[in-house]
């Protein structure tokens, strides 16, 4: 019996990591040879399906979403941890709402964004519709990480600060925030990762225009959307493969950063 269980354990672990290696290996092997300089030229045309406009659009969407989601998310974390009492009934409500939002599938966010921003607000398929949608999508991620980071800061630090005469705000910004910073940052980085990989929520909010958006009211496409459109059109398999490599690289960098930060974070939190 023991032998069988041990066998299963090793077998399924091997299957899991074999699948991962296969996927990454496939993306790299099929994509790297097609990474040509042309794919990074500034203009997209039907002859040269450059990914540069979509890379820049991705950066716009990330920047815009973070600009909205960070203040709201971090401030919400401040309220939940530093201000609201343990038995505040609103806190429970906010936590439930945040958890629920975390589980909402991207397609539902996309549908909502389309109805609320594209149609009701009249923004059409545009950068602003995409940004608002993805900001709401990553908000729970930032709130959760901020909350956890703040909660891990020891209470005696706050009490020491109060005891020295500092007010609540000063204590939060001067004492608590610096210690919690790596944790909050790693939440922000996770949010970046989520936006980079997003397609379903952006397809009908940001749209899939091939050109670089020239204002927040014009449409564009992110890298992931670019890859989806290329592969569903079916004419540019090689270029889709190459786009996959870039996406994977971005994910790799994001993961590295967040691991590094959370290691720093656990070190800092132990003081």
């Amino acid at each position: 019996m023991s032998k069988v269980l041990r066998g299963f354990t090793y077998f399924f672990a091997a299957v899991t990591f074999a699948a991962l290696v296969w996927i990454i290996g496939y993306v790299l092997v099929s994509g790297v040879p097609h990474l040509t300089a042309d794919l990074f030229s500034w203009k997209y045309s039907t002859d040269n399906v450059s990914m540069m406009p979509s890379i820049i659009t991705t950066i716009y969407v990330i920047g815009g979403s973070l600009l909205l989601a960070i203040p709201f998310g971090v401030f919400a974390g401040f309220y939940l941890v530093e201000y609201a009492g343990k038995n505040n009934k609103w806190v429970e409500g906010i936590r439930i709402a945040t958890d629920t939002l975390t589980g909402v599938p991207s397609i539902v966010f996309g549908l909502f964004g389309m109805l609320a921003f594209v149609t009701a607000a009249g923004f059409q398929y545009s950068l602003i519709s995409g940004i608002l949608t993805s900001a709401i999508m990553v908000l729970p991620l930032i709130i959760r990480n901020t909350e956890e980071a703040l909660m891990s800061v020891k209470d005696n630090l706050r009490q020491a600060s109060f005891g020295l005469g500092a007010g609540k705000l000063r204590t939060i910004f001067r004492i608590v925030l610096p210690i919690a910073m790596p944790g909050i940052l790693s939440g922000i980085i996770l949010a970046v990762g989520r936006i980079v990989g997003e397609t379903a929520a952006l397809m009908y909010t940001l749209g899939t225009s091939t050109s670089l958006p020239n204002s927040i009211f014009s449409s564009g496409r992110t890298l992931a959307l670019h890859m989806f459109v290329l592969s569903s059109e079916g004419f540019h398999r090689d270029q889709a493969n190459a786009t996959g490599v870039i996406l994977l690289l971005v994910v790799l960098v994001i993961n590295g950063l967040s691991t590094w930060l959370s290691q720093r974070f656990t070190k800092g939190g132990q003081n």
Binding site: V27, I94, M203
Partner: protein, 291 residues
């Protein structure tokens, strides 16, 4: 000092307002989805919409049953393949993996959870679809490779990181004293791991599985690339089907009027299913043991 106090008060309310955005966002999502979805369902008839077996937008026939069944089958396959794999792999990560290997595999697992769904879908389309096509033909079944089986396999892979990461951390949260007591009574490592440690972590493992199911039901892009997307009841493991998520994204581009409302209603049904799954998740997590 006076001015300082005012700033304190103002900021307190600013923080409070920020905290209420998640409630506000959730309410707004519910409002927009249900305000268009529910009236359509009421007009068309709830029963006819949910149990109707034909989806023909051109004839204004909107029966969601094939898509409900499509989502169910695809999720079920992902469950059958993904759960044992995930739980055993989590056991490996928690109790069998040498620490040096763990230092490599843990970041690898994080990387896996960060891979965009479009990349999974693309891998499925280019690699798995031909494999399934050849395999099913070798069994004498006509199939183009885009099938509920293909979608199920891709989803199973996609939910692995969710299941493994959460299960591993709940397995590690079981106190070491349980392990020592069991070994002290003469049980070996395997028996202790599976008979003592795994049951002790069951609520965490269950919640990871529920979370995985939620992810599988809501997944869109990877599924539409490999599932075939025919709006009919799936006729076999190696035949195509369309999920609810795929239904929305495939037709939204050109849908207008009633057709668009029908797609939003599809979203409403999906949303309710996800809310139920989330509710079960929250319940299991809350009733779980905390060490």
């Amino acid at each position: 000092m006076k001015q300082n106090n005012m700033l304190e008060t103002v900021m307190k309310y600013v923080f409070m307002l920020a905290a209420f955005t998640s409630i506000l966002a959730l309410l707004a999502i519910c409002y927009f989805i249900f305000a268009r979805g529910l009236p359509f369902m009421a007009d068309y008839g709830f029963g006819q919409f949910l149990f109707g077996s034909k989806w023909q937008p051109a004839q204004e026939i909107f029966g969601l049953a094939p898509m409900l069944i499509g989502s169910l089958y695809v999720t079920l396959i992902a469950f059958v393949l993904g759960v044992p794999t995930g739980v055993f792999a989590a056991m490996f990560m928690a109790f069998y993996c040498p620490p040096k290997l763990h230092k490599v595999l843990k970041p690898a697992m994080n990387l896996m959870s960060g891979i965009p769904s479009i990349v999974f879908g693309y891998f499925g389309l280019q690699v798995l679809v031909p494999v399934i096509r050849t395999f099913s033909r070798s069994l004498g079944i006509a199939s183009n490779g885009m099938s509920i089986m293909t979608a199920g396999i891709i989803l199973a892979i996609m939910i692995l990181p969710t299941i493994i990461t959460m299960s591993e951390s709940s397995l590690r949260a079981v106190p070491k004293t349980y392990y020592n007591a069991s070994v002290g009574l003469g049980a070996d490592h395997d028996r202790t791991s599976y008979v003592i440690m795994m049951p002790a972590a069951r609520s965490g493992i269950f919640s990871s599985i529920i979370l995985g199911i939620g992810r599988a039901v809501g997944e869109t892009m990877a599924v539409i690339m490999v599932a075939g997307n025919q709006a009919i009841f799936p006729r076999g493991l190696f035949q195509g089907a369309r999920t609810m998520t795929a239904n929305i994204i495939l037709e939204m581009a050109y849908a207008t009027g009633t057709h668009q409302s029908a797609l939003i209603a599809t979203g409403a049904v999906l949303f309710v299913i996800i809310l139920i799954i989330n509710g079960i998740f929250a319940y299991v997590k809350r009733t779980g043991v905390n060490y």
